[in-house]
């Protein structure tokens, strides 16, 4: 389990969520100035990994595919990290859609809601399976998508990191983070933004499939913008628990 510095994850009770939601709503209604977090996740790790060799269906998938488990831009910005403000409610999250495209899951990392839905589709002229596993390696569902254009809906029956694999193309990986806390996925340059954040100090949890979970903090001033950069380092045994 990922543990924040000032408040253990387990201590974020339903009452806390309700209180924060009320504060958030009341502050908005009364025009109380809210702050903003503008951040970037970076890393000193190597910018890209060697491509993966395609072992089957090369006519559709090609001879190799990029290893998207680590995507770092020229300035060290890290894509596909999930940044979470611990204790702030997530609010409404758009149901994710994951597309089997070029024998990769696209997008590779996205947000969802525990109990919410996910749409799964394909544009590839080949059989894909979308097999979802919970954080504890429990199989949640496994759907075959043998023809392009088909869209299948399933429920996200777990919270935290839900891993998607294709059992017929074993290099394919996708992740849906079913989060109850306010979260964002970093863009290709490692950027993320949280608007309308009540003033205060928050624990920040960052998950990345390559680096695992790390914990940070941020302080947001009223009407202020907290500009932060979090740098993730290569570790031998990353903490994978969200």
């Amino acid at each position: 389990m990922g543990v924040s510095r000032s408040s253990p994850r387990g201590a974020i009770s339903a009452a806390n969520y309700v209180a924060l939601a009320i504060i958030f709503s009341v502050a908005s209604l009364h025009g109380q100035p809210l702050g903003k977090i503008v951040g970037r996740v970076s890393t000193s790790a190597a910018g890209s990994l060697a491509p993966l060799t395609v072992t089957t269906n090369q006519d559709v998938c090609g001879q190799e595919v990029p290893d998207e488990s680590l995507f770092v831009d020229a300035l060290g910005g890290l894509a596909n990290a999930v940044v979470t403000v611990v204790g702030l409610p997530a609010g409404d999250v758009v149901s994710p859609t994951i597309t089997n495209a070029g024998c990769q899951f696209s997008p590779r990392v996205q947000l969802g809601q525990p109990g919410g839905e996910i749409q799964i589709t394909s544009i590839d002229e080949v059989l894909h399976t979308s097999h979802a596993y919970a954080d504890d390696d429990r199989s949640l569902f496994n759907v075959a998508i043998p023809i392009p254009g088909l869209t299948i809906t399933r429920q996200l029956t777990a919270r935290g990191v839900i891993r998607l694999v294709c059992d017929t193309h074993t290099w394919m990986r996708g992740f849906v983070i079913a989060a109850t806390d306010l979260s964002a996925v970093t863009t290709s340059d490692g950027a993320f933004v949280f608007n309308n954040v009540p003033a205060g100090t928050y624990d920040i949890r960052i998950w990345h499939e390559y680096f695992g979970v790390s914990n940070h903090t941020v302080t947001v001033e009223a009407e202020g913008t907290a500009a932060v950069t979090y740098t993730l380092h290569d570790v031998d045994a990353p903490n994978d628990s969200y």
């Binding site: 072992t55 089957t56 269906n57 059989l127 399976t129 979308s130 097999h131 390696d137 199989s139 569902f141 496994n142 759907v143 075959a144 998508i145 043998p146 023809i147 088909l150 299948i152 059992d167 017929t168 193309h169 074993t170």
Partner: protein, 323 residues
């Protein structure tokens, strides 16, 4: 469909042996007729539509229910079953749920533990536990060995020990094209291994030829058995005629389904009825339990109310699903 979608894991020839395996579990060998024929259509259709876990199989078998119509799923199942190129294998649709007393017509690989508790008029209670090891032989044959252990009350005394061991064989004599009817013939031999003096054994070798049948009529399953008991070499040579008739219904197509039914159980001029329930206690259905009460109807003074049931382990089927 099979070549484009299934063959990457199950192989074009159905053996499950592919040059570059993708899944981490070993797929079934569809060319093995014992695998391909022994389960009912409903199991295959469920797995194709919903994926392996619905029947306790691997989650790496995905569900095609969002893609295929039920007609396409049936066609795919028919194609998979066609990998068995030997004739004469009874199809799994005839593998009806086992009643408590009526001998199944379908050959099985099972260990069956059959307890019974009888409350007698004098207040005593007889306890019996019979363990049967059953083994399918070839396409239509079946052999079994039964070992009974008993604890019998006689007034204030109790006698315990082995009863009469049994050895039996049966053979499927007939199945129809639509796989709705099956008829088997068998012979059970009961050896007088139990002590006659203490009441644990019958005191004679008993030859028991029988016929067993099963018929499905829509969702209703009817199974019947007639048997002669011919004692040889004992003090009594009284021939007995045994007949059992079962009617029941599976409440779903799942291997772990509940089954409800009732049997009429006759032994010569004695008749009883046995209402019963059965439930697979693993998702694969490899372990199942049945409970019932045998209630005398005719010649009640010569029978006792019995609590009966069985615990079955289909030892060639996976008890737990692969990951």
């Amino acid at each position: 469909m099979y070549g484009a979608w299934c063959a990457s894991c199950h192989a074009l020839d159905g053996t499950g042996l592919v040059e570059i395996p993708t899944v981490t579990v070993e797929p079934m060998d569809f060319t093995d007729c014992a695998v391909t024929t022994s389960e009912p259509d409903a199991d295959w259709e469920l797995v194709i539509a919903h994926g392996g876990p619905i029947a306790g199989l691997s989650s790496q078998m995905p569900g095609y229910g969002d893609t295929l119509s039920s007609e396409q799923i049936q066609a795919l199942m028919g194609y998979v079953r066609s990998f068995c190129d030997e004739s004469g294998w009874p199809m799994g649709n005839l593998n009806f749920s086992r009643p408590i007393f009526t001998e199944k017509a379908f050959p099985e690989n099972e260990v069956v533990i059959v307890p019974s508790v009888s409350h007698k008029a004098d207040g005593g209670t007889d306890l019996r536990l019979r363990t049967v090891y059953e083994r399918r032989i070839g396409r239509r044959g079946h052999a079994e060995i039964g070992i009974p252990v008993q604890s019998l009350a006689e007034g204030s005394r109790r006698t315990s020990g082995f009863g009469d061991f049994t050895v039996a064989g049966k053979y499927v004599l007939h199945t129809n094209e639509a796989s709705t009817r099956i008829l088997s013939g068998g012979l059970e031999v009961k050896f007088h291994t139990g002590s006659e003096l203490s009441g644990l054994g019958g005191g004679a070798t008993v030859f028991e030829p029988y016929l067993s049948s099963g018929i499905s009529v829509r969702d209703l399953i009817i199974q019947g058995q007639v048997k002669l008991e011919l004692p040889v070499g004992g003090a009594s040579d009284e021939l007995e005629f045994v007949y059992n008739l079962y009617g029941g219904k599976d409440l779903s197509g799942l291997p772990s389904t509940w089954t409800v039914g009732a049997e009429l159980n006759g032994v010569s001029d004695r008749l009883a009825i046995t209402p019963q329930i059965r439930k697979g206690i693993t998702r694969t259905g490899a372990i199942a339990i049945a409970l019932g009460v045998r209630i005398p109807i005719l010649n009640r003074q010569r029978q006792h109310v019995q609590g009966v049931g069985y615990l079955i382990w289909e030892y060639l089927d996976p008890v737990r699903a692969a990951p």
